[in-house]
């Protein structure tokens, strides 16, 4: 756009005249076009920011932010959340022994059950999370250690996983499926929740394990090689990740729609968390009827099949029960932040108003002539 016409002369060198020998051609004036653009006179908005001009903005921001903040704060407060740490660091924790004696090689699962009490009933759908702390799923090498093609059902990638998966690429000469460190460190505790009703009976709370992964992940990004049928055949010639107890096609043998790579627990795990303290959706407790709460207040027992070691790196494991609102999970920060920023804006607006009255009037007269 710009560099086209500035150098009529300088690049041609000294013998430029050789080309223009004497035609009495049309005399073209070199006069520049008198257009607004070329003369830099385009109609322009000149935002000279003064106290007078910005103070309405401050008030408006204040007036918008404070209600939003209040709304956020209220809705965040309405969210019920319960969290229980079952890592087993303390001696009195039921899972202390399991944590203490953990070994990848043990064949017998270690079981422990953690009792807890919900003070308030959880009304709507309840989401059950497992939470890990100090688990750096966002470590650069860890994040890379996967093969998306393999997970997408690519046959060649299945047999020959990407180099990024090293050192979890092959095991005993066979390609690992799914390869990589992420898959290898799949969270494999099993959580079961029981409600202890008034008469002491243990009622199993139905946990829905489908619908916890993103739709796009489940249907687009993750695919089993050669369809969902006969996964055993499809995964033949591959090896299970070293830390796994069972191969990928046995993750959920009951439901072929939730087995292999499209196992939702697996998918959820594969979406690496952004921060070292994170939670991942484990199950959904669906609301049964409009009258009874999903989780009534009372005593509960959480049964854990303790398979996942975190103590070595000072990690923590939690189980979280939470309802959600339109803005996600419980988080008072946003509400408070909105209210704070809104108030600051409002306050600054007032300050600017004072300044405007004190100084700005004088400044209006010698305005820049346009």
């Amino acid at each position: 756009m710009m560099a086209s016409s500035y150098n009529a002369k300088e690049e041609d060198g000294p013998n430029s005249g050789a080309s223009n020998n004497g035609g009495a051609g049309v005399v073209k004036s070199k006069k520049p076009d008198n257009t607004a653009f070329k003369q830099q006179r385009l109609p322009a908005w000149q935002p000279i920011l003064t106290a007078g001009t910005v103070l309405p903005a401050f008030f408006v921001i204040g007036l918008i932010f404070i209600p939003i903040g209040i709304g956020l704060f209220v809705s965040s407060n309405n969210i019920k959340e319960f969290e229980i740490d079952y890592t087993g660091v303390d001696l009195n924790n039921p899972c202390y022994n399991c944590a203490k004696n953990f070994s990848w090689n043990s064949t017998t699962p270690c079981l422990c059950s953690v009792p807890f009490t919900l003070e308030q009933p959880f009304e709507s759908n309840v989401f059950m999370y497992y939470g890990l702390s100090n688990f750096y799923q966002n470590h650069r090498r860890y994040v890379k250690s996967r093969d998306d093609s393999q997970l997408n059902g690519d046959q060649s990638a299945l047999k020959n996983p990407s180099k990024e998966c090293e050192p979890y690429r092959t095991s005993e000469g066979q390609p690992i499926a799914p390869c990589g460190a992420i898959a290898n460190s799949l969270f494999n505790d099993t959580l079961e929740l029981y409600y202890i009703d008034s008469n002491g009976t243990k009622n199993t709370i139905p946990l829905v394990k489908k619908g916890i992964a993103w739709w796009t992940d489940k249907h687009v990004k993750f695919r089993n090689p050669g369809g969902n049928n006969n996964l055993t055949v499809a995964f033949q010639g591959t090896s299970k990740p070293v830390n796994w107890r069972k191969p990928v096609y046995e993750l959920d043998p009951s439901d072929p729609e939730n087995n292999g790579f499209i196992n939702e627990d697996f998918i959820v795990w594969m979406r690496t968390a952004a921060l070292p303290t994170f939670r991942k959706l484990y199950r959904i407790i669906q609301k049964k009827s409009s009258t009874t709460p999903t989780l009534p207040s009372g005593k509960y027992i959480l049964d854990i099949t303790y398979n996942y070691p975190v103590l070595s790196f000072d990690g923590r494991k939690r189980m979280i029960l939470s309802t959600i609102s339109w803005m996600g999970g419980k988080n008072p920060f946003l509400g408070i932040a909105y209210i704070t920023v809104g108030s600051i804006c409002f306050f600054l607006g007032v300050v600017l108003l004072i300044i405007h009255h004190k100084y700005d009037t004088r400044n209006n007269s010698p305005d820049i002539p346009n």
Partner: protein, 1386 residues
């Protein structure tokens, strides 16, 4: 650099095995010595020679042997060929350190342990930059290629040995040693030795406009003593061999000799050389032998590429970049150490991929990873962006209407593309005077002859009238230049039978020709001979005296008071003769080839009578005085007594006189001439009969061109009208002078009927009043030389036969050389009287601001001349030290001159110069005038252009020795300090130095060239600088070009300020090149200044807009853009850095790598460019009205370290907000890496774009469009990428992330909060700044008018005091000093 250049050539040579189109015809690959030398150092070759002999001549073997190593005539100005483009271009591009850094990052990314992104993604930035630049280069190169092709395929007639005839060949096939025949208007294909010209005198004219822009014709001479001249000589028998110097780039120098078969050597010089790309004019056929071809021609060797200067801001920028590097290293070190510590505390974590590496080593790896991840912190794309922005800025400068000169139809030329912002930082402006401040349209104003002043009142009045009319006339008086050149071309072609076009063009242009009639100025000559310049109204007194020649009656009144003595008459005649002939003016008339000199027709039949008479009468009263020394007697001025003329007149012209108006002279002579011209016509009319041929030619011009026959009849049929017409047509003789004052003087002489009619190599044809046309035998021209500061012609006087030297030059030189002859007291008395009077007049002229030139003559004895001639010939034919020898020889001749008189030439100020200077001074720019003129002239001009205000105090520094100079500088310094102290006390305002305008009297230092010489020396220069800093302006007069550049260099280096030099002539070139910004004024004096400048303007007044508006805007735009760029990068990079604290300093990123790379490269790259090109923080009108605003930029308040750090801090704050608001909002939730990055990226984009809205001062629809497009491109990209990129871009696969995120309200809530919070401080800061501290310059804007009354009084007072001060010993001239250090007339 030179070396490198050569290496490049060498590479190319090797790469192209085929020599067919190669650079070097040396296909055998031997690095031949000559070309190597020529490329590595053209200066060094003076000792080396090249031998050229005819290609098809008898010495075939010798030719083969000698010419093998010479280049062919094919040229290649392209840098690359199709094959070599990629490697060569890459090689070139990787000279930039920025690109090397990029390459380093790419390579680093290939190291597996360090790898941050996928390999292909890391290459994208580098590739984009390389491709963009390569594309630009390729386009430029392609244009050059097309041009080369066209030039190479031009056809020229070359002598073929086989066919023994001239055959058509293409330019590229021409070889050294070829004989080339050219016709009129053909362009010369190579540097050739002129062997034959159809012109009987063996001259040929070339126009060098293609080479240096000068449009006047240059005369070239056939190699002397060629036996073949005169007929189409047989080329087969051309036995001569030419020895000449190796190719060099000096256009004005060519040395060598031609060896004839007999061993006779003939010197060759520049006059024998036809330069490539010049045009043959006015000569039917020319044959030359090629001596340099292709790239070895002088034209090509002068073809250096565009200028590259590094701007101040870029240097400044580099320090900031270094800070960025430091910041980067700190960040990377933090990450490295953090990673090491973090890893140290971990025991067997599940997520650890690589467990073997020790924490220390892992930290080391992370360091490099982080360098890649945070690479954007070093704004590589900034360099490319700056280049683009500067192109945009130059586009706007180039298109500014205010910088367009309607009269010349010329825009500003921006020759240096990368120093636009330096225009906004100028602190010192060095200006040439002539042609820069003034028009350089010299008009003869007055003269003094024989110590008598002729004030030319009428002339003065006419000039004033013209001055008034000028404004309205300006529009139409000068026609478009391009149009003219086209026409003049067709005019010229009349004489060339070959150019078949001419008739058609003529017919087509006849209408235009008609228009031309109403227009008094012939376009071709408007350069030097505007109407005012041509029409000089003669002084009545002088006319009266001149008329003594013509009227016989005056013999009777001899001795009366009004009668001039015969000696005075001699002086007057000689004076005008000198004016007419002592120059290098080329004469032509509009209808005729420019040079055509009527063949030296036998002068008047009775010339012999004159001579006889003259011999007898030369023992005039004056001659008798000097009888004591007989040689001197001969040397005494030739005296034309009126009796002589009376006799001559009656004797020879009676017939003519009687037929016209023989009775008139007597009648008219008694009257105070009401119409002097009419009377003067006598002489020319007298000539009329004899000089019919001339007349015919002259009358042909204008309308007669279309109808020459009619005109002829007309001319012959009506003698009276003819006479009138002739007086008109006399003025229509076109004089093409090398310098405008020459033209002015020739026209002045013409006004007194002393008309230069034609010129050839051996003679001049001059009309003299009362005598008629005389052929003056021209023996030598000693051309103008800035060392000698004078030029001379040596002629054989047509009447006396004496060898006479007429010298014209700067008064200082001539007055020193003009000696009183020994001997007769009376003569001495007269001489000293003349000298004194002339000196008085000179001083008066100088005070008026006139340029003065002294005219002197000398009669040389035959023996003396012979002796001198030997030396001169020796000097001319020598190859080595030729210049020195010539100078010496000239100086030997120019001694013992007889002062004839002096002329005063007025050179008007250009329009709006005072306003411009005032504005520049108000803008805080110190204006220095560096001129070759005299002190008085310079000061006068300084007053006229308001550089000096009425109440300023002048400090004059003029002394004869170094010690005196030291003392003087010290004294002046004390004076300045004392005055400053006394000023600051009562006002208590310490800003004296700053206040350039206003009532405070400043000091103005006037220093002359000789004193400057001392002041520039090592010991004194600091004193000089201190003194000059106390002064608001400095005027250096009498300075040489070298001194000009020394002064500029001194100020630039010692004060570390930004300097600008503006000039128009060749003498300003060195100054222009030294200054940070060089501005050439494309004026009257050729193109050298323009060629060496960074910007070329046509008027001085354009400077104010260029500096105050464009410079200011460009600087603040660029500075703001750079700051913004840095802000943007720091802000974005920090987001990644903060994330390291949450990913174990492992170098992880929360964004897809594509988005990360493209964020800088695509989504946020265009708005800064628009910002840098279009932002206007003040309207142009305000900037023009309040030059004080320039100071804010000048002291670089926009771009100072603290602003840089504020920007960086703001960026840190914003990145903190931008990272931690989403962090706290999402902490502990199930957010994934990419989902976390999504709101951060989006809000970063919004913040960065909105930040620019806050920062930019204007928002046009372009801004809006670009901002919206940038935002849209980001969101569009991530959305589409998130939909379609299923397995691409592992591992940060973005499938579905953005679509999901953007469907959630949380995303928008976070973005809104982040954006508002991040921008709040900046917004508040801006608002408070603008409210509490409104632009300081606006309040201080006070316009003060200069009291014109006071100015005039002051001026008078100064004039008085100064004439006294001149006599003070401290200022006394010391004439014994070497003349070389003195000034140069520009």
């Amino acid at each position: 650099m030179e070396r490198l250049h050569w290496v490049r050539h060498r590479c190319r040579q090797l790469l192209e095995g085929n020599s067919g189109r190669g650079w070097y015809s040396a296909a055998d690959g031997l690095p031949n010595k000559s070309s190597l030398d020529a490329h590595s150092s053209p200066q060094r070759v003076s000792g080396k020679r090249r031998t050229v002999c005819a290609r098809h001549g008898p010495h075939q073997q010798e030719y083969e042997a000698v010419s093998k190593s010479y280049q062919g005539n094919a040229i290649r100005t392209t840098k690359y060929s199709l094959l070599t483009f990629i490697p060569m271009n890459l090689f070139q591009q990787f000279h930039r350190s920025a690109n090397l850094y990029f390459l380093f990052l790419v390579l680093l990314n290939w190291v597996p342990v360090v790898e941050a992104f996928q390999k292909e993604i890391a290459m994208i930035p580098l590739l984009v930059v390389l491709v963009v630049i390569a594309f630009k280069d390729a386009l430029e190169d392609y244009r050059r290629y097309l041009f080369d092709k066209k030039v190479n395929n031009n056809v020229v007639r070359v002598f073929s040995g086989k066919q023994k005839a001239y055959i058509d060949q293409r330019w590229k096939d021409v070889r050294v040693g070829d004989f080339v025949r050219l016709s009129c208007n053909e362009i010369i294909p190579a540097d050739m030795l002129l062997l034959y010209s159809s012109d009987p005198r063996g001259v040929c004219y070339i126009e060098t406009a293609n080479l240096d822009g000068e449009t006047n014709l240059k005369q070239r001479q056939v190699v002397s003593d060629l036996p073949l001249q005169g007929e189409e000589f047989s080329l087969e028998s051309f036995h001569c061999r030419v020895e000449c110097e190796n190719p060099n780039d000096d256009l004005g120098r060519f040395r060598g000799y031609m060896e004839h078969p007999g061993g006779l050597r003939v010197g060759l010089h520049n006059n024998n050389l036809l330069l490539r790309s010049c045009t043959v004019r006015n000569t039917e056929t020319v044959v030359g032998m090629v001596v340099y071809a292709g790239h070895e021609t002088k034209a090509m060797m002068n073809n250096s590429g565009p200028r590259y200067k590094r701007s101040q801001l870029e240097k400044h920028l580099n320090t900031d970049i270094l800070w960025c590097v430091l910041l980067l290293i700190i960040m990377c070190l933090t990450a490295a150490i953090g990673h090491g510590l973090w890893l140290n505390n971990l025991k067997d974590p599940l997520f650890q991929v690589d467990t073997e590496t020790s924490p220390g080593l892992a930290g080391f790896y992370v360091f490099w990873t982080m360098i890649i991840v945070l690479q954007v912190l070093i704004p590589i794309s900034l360099y490319v962006s700056i280049e683009i922005v500067k192109l945009g800025q130059i586009y706007f400068i180039h298109n500014d209407l205010a910088l367009y000169n309607k009269q010349l139809d010329s825009r500003i030329q921006c020759r240096a593309l990368n120093i636009t912002e330096d225009l906004g930082q100028i602190q010192y402006l060095f200006s040439d005077k002539t042609g820069t401040l003034t028009e350089n349209k010299m008009v003869f104003r007055r003269c003094s002859i024989y110590g008598v002043e002729y004030p030319h009142e009428e002339n003065a009045r006419r000039l004033e009238v013209y001055e008034a009319e000028k404004s309205e006339e300006a529009g139409r008086s000068v026609t478009l230049k391009s149009g003219c050149s086209g026409k003049s071309l067709s005019c010229r072609s009349l004489s060339c039978q070959r150019s078949s076009v001419s008739l058609h063009t003529l017919a087509a242009e006849s209408e235009e020709e008609e228009e031309q009639l109403s227009n008094p100025i012939h376009p071709r000559t408007n350069a030097f001979c505007s109407r005012v310049a041509k029409e000089v109204v003669p002084d009545p007194e002088l006319v009266r005296k001149l008329n003594w020649f013509c009227s016989p009656e005056l013999a009777l009144s001899d001795g009366s008071s009004g009668t001039p003595s015969s000696l005075e008459l001699t002086y007057i005649t000689d004076f005008f003769l000198a004016l007419a002939i002592c120059n290098s003016v080329v004469v032509s008339s509009p209808s005729q080839p420019r040079h055509v000199v009527p063949e030296a027709r036998t002068p008047l039949k009775s010339l012999e009578d004159f001579k006889l008479m003259f011999q007898r009468l030369s023992f005039s009263p004056f001659a008798a005085l000097s009888t004591l020394s007989p040689p001197q007697m001969k040397g005494s001025p030739v005296s034309f007594t009126r009796r002589l003329f009376a006799r001559g007149k009656t004797g020879s012209f009676t017939p003519t006189n009687s037929t016209t108006d023989g009775s008139e002279p007597g009648r008219e002579s008694n009257l105070e001439p009401p119409d002097p011209r009419r009377k003067l016509d006598l002489s020319s009319r007298a000539e009329g009969g004899d000089a019919g041929q001339t007349e015919h030619r002259d009358t042909e011009d204008e309308d007669a061109k279309t109808n020459p026959d009619g005109a002829r009849q007309d001319a012959e049929g009506d003698p009276i009208r003819e006479a009138d017409r002739e007086s008109d047509t006399n003025e229509e003789l076109l004089y093409e002078a090398e310098s405008p004052d020459e033209a002015a003087l020739v026209h002045a002489a013409q006004a007194y009927r002393c008309t230069l009619r034609g010129r050839s190599a051996e003679g001049l044809l001059v009309d003299l009043p009362g005598i008629g046309s005389l052929a003056v035998q021209l023996l030598h021209i000693l051309p103008f030389d800035s060392n000698r500061k004078k030029m001379s012609v040596v002629v054989r006087h047509p009447l006396t036969g004496h060898v006479v030297v007429y010298t014209k030059g700067a008064d200082s030189v001539i007055m020193d050389l003009a000696e009183t002859p020994k001997g007769a007291e009376q003569a001495q008395e007269i001489y000293s009287h003349i000298r004194e009077q002339t000196q008085i007049h000179l001083d008066g002229y100088a005070r008026e601001g006139l340029r003065t030139l002294c005219i002197a003559k000398k009669i040389v004895e035959e023996e003396e001349y012979e002796a001198w001639l030997k030396g001169q010939l020796l000097a001319e034919s020598s190859i080595e030290n030729r210049e020195e020898l010539l100078l010496e020889s000239a100086q030997r001749l120019e001694t013992n001159l007889t002062l004839l008189g002096t002329t005063g030439i007025v050179d008007r100020l250009q329009e709006e110069v005072p306003e411009t200077i005032e504005a520049l001074q108000r803008a805080g720019i110190k204006v220095w005038i560096l001129t070759g003129d005299k002190k008085e002239t310079a000061i006068n001009i300084a007053y006229a252009c308001k550089l000096l205000c009425p109440n300023d105090q002048l400090l004059t520094a003029s002394c004869g020795s170094k010690d005196a100079c030291a003392v003087l500088l010290e004294e002046l310094k004390v004076e300045v300090q004392r005055s400053e102290a006394s000023l600051t006390e009562p006002t208590a305002a310490g800003n004296h130095g700053e206040s350039s305008s206003g009532g405070v009297a400043g000091f103005v230092l006037v220093i002359d060239g000789r004193t400057l010489e001392w002041a520039l020396q090592e010991e004194l220069k600091s004193h000089f600088l201190e003194l000059s800093q106390g002064c608001k302006a400095v005027i250096c007069c009498r300075s040489t070009p070298l001194q000009k550049s020394q002064v500029v260099r001194l100020v630039r280096d010692q004060l570390g300020v930004m300097t600008l030099a503006v000039g128009d002539g060749a003498n300003d070139v060195s100054m222009i090149q030294v200054a940070d910004v060089g501005i050439g004024i494309s004026g009257q004096e050729g193109m050298q200044a323009v060629m060496s400048s960074d910007f070329a303007i046509s008027r001085f007044k354009h400077l104010s807009k260029l500096l105050l508006v464009h410079g200011h805007l460009c600087y603040s735009r660029l500075a703001n853009m750079i700051l913004y760029f840095i802000y943007k990068n720091v802000m974005y990079v920090n987001l990644l850095f903060w994330y390291q604290f949450f990913c174990g300093f492992s170098g992880g990123v929360m964004t897809n790598a594509w988005v990360l790379i493209l964020f800088n490269l695509l989504f946020t790259s265009v708005p800064p460019l628009i910002y840098g090109v279009l932002d206007q923080h003040m309207p142009a009108d305000t900037l023009m009205e309040l030059p004080e605003l320039y100071q804010a930029v000048q002291t670089s308040k926009v771009y100072v370290p603290y602003v840089f750090w504020i920007t960086v801090l703001d960026a840190f704050y914003q990145s903190l907000v931008c990272f931690f608001v989403p962090y706290f909002a999402l902490a502990g939730s199930s957010v994934g890496v990419l989902s976390f990055g999504s709101p951060i990226n989006a809000s970063a984009l919004l913040i960065i774009l909105l930040h620019q809205v806050i920062e930019s001062h204007t928002l046009t629809w372009i801004h809006a469009l670009v901002l919206v497009l940038s935002g849209a491109s980001y969101f569009g990209f991530v959305l589409l990428f998130g939909v379609f990129c299923v397995t691409c871009s592992p591992p940060t696969n973005p499938v579905g992330v953005e679509t999901l995120e953007m469907s959630q309200p949380l995303f928008y809530i976070v973005c809104a909060l982040t954006t508002v919070t991040a921008l709040l401080p900046r917004l508040l800061f801006r608002a408070l700044c603008n409210t509490l501290r409104p632009a300081a310059a606006l309040t201080s804007a006070q316009t003060d008018r200069v009291d014109s009354e006071r100015y005039r009084k002051k001026m008078q007072r100064w004039n008085l005091s100064h004439s006294k001060a001149n006599k003070l010993p401290v200022c006394a001239d010391n004439p014994g000093l070497e003349p070389g250090t003195d000034s140069v007339e520009s």
